[in-house]
Symmetry: C2
Subunit: 127 residues, 2 copies
């Protein structure tokens, strides 16, 4: 596989192994000193062990499904459908991999619904 194909497969595995609670397999995708950031809360998790615990301890019966993975050399982005019970939220996750194909940086965004601002209903439809 070329670098992009390796990145794409690794990012798909990151989501699929988290969904499967395959924590050994999940951890094997990460560098020892992986950095995980959530810019919306300005939170950062450092290192494989902390990131494993962060995911293992994440509350609720959460489920992740891949909507799209876009890979480009050592970089990728994943568009995720996440659900806890009836609650649904999309996520956007950015990845950086090392030369040997392990994930060294993850940046997660969890966009919440909000009400549209007034004044543009002549241009938009709602669903």
């Amino acid at each position: 596989m070329d670098e992009t194909a390796t990145t794409r497969a690794t990012v798909r595995a990151y989501i699929e192994r988290a969904e499967a609670r395959d924590w050994g397999g999940f951890g094997a995708l990460l560098t020892d000193d992986v950095v995980y950031e959530m810019p919306q809360t300005r939170e950062r998790v450092r290192g494989r062990e902390a990131l494993l615990r962060f995911n293992q301890e994440y509350p609720g019966d959460w489920h992740l499904a891949i909507r799209r993975v876009v890979a480009d050399g050592r970089y990728a982005a994943a568009w995720i459908d996440s659900r806890i019970g009836e609650e649904h939220q999309d996520a956007c996750i950015w990845f950086e991999l090392t030369d040997d194909g392990r994930i060294e940086r993850v940046t997660d965004y969890w966009p919440d619904p909000y009400d549209p601002p007034p004044g543009r209903d002549h241009l938009v439809e709602r669903w």
Copy 2:
């Protein structure tokens, strides 16, 4: 250029021409019937003319800078730094292009800051 390189250049141009208010150049990147969606507000804009007006009429002295573009065949994602005055917000934008390299679908997410939930401060640092 191969398909991925064309997609990458087109998506970069989408951001750069919007920032430059080069609406003729911006519109030339789009299909006639481009569909633009904002899932957080469940808003959809249909067609090049409406999408041009949507951007032209967007209030405030907004500025866009590319943080990263990831392109993969006809698909891409852009990580954007957007600013209006002192206000800063990141955006995640997903793109689909036609076989002839025009943008036919754009999906925008605008994640807002929020307070972190309690119970994970043993695993995270804040910035």
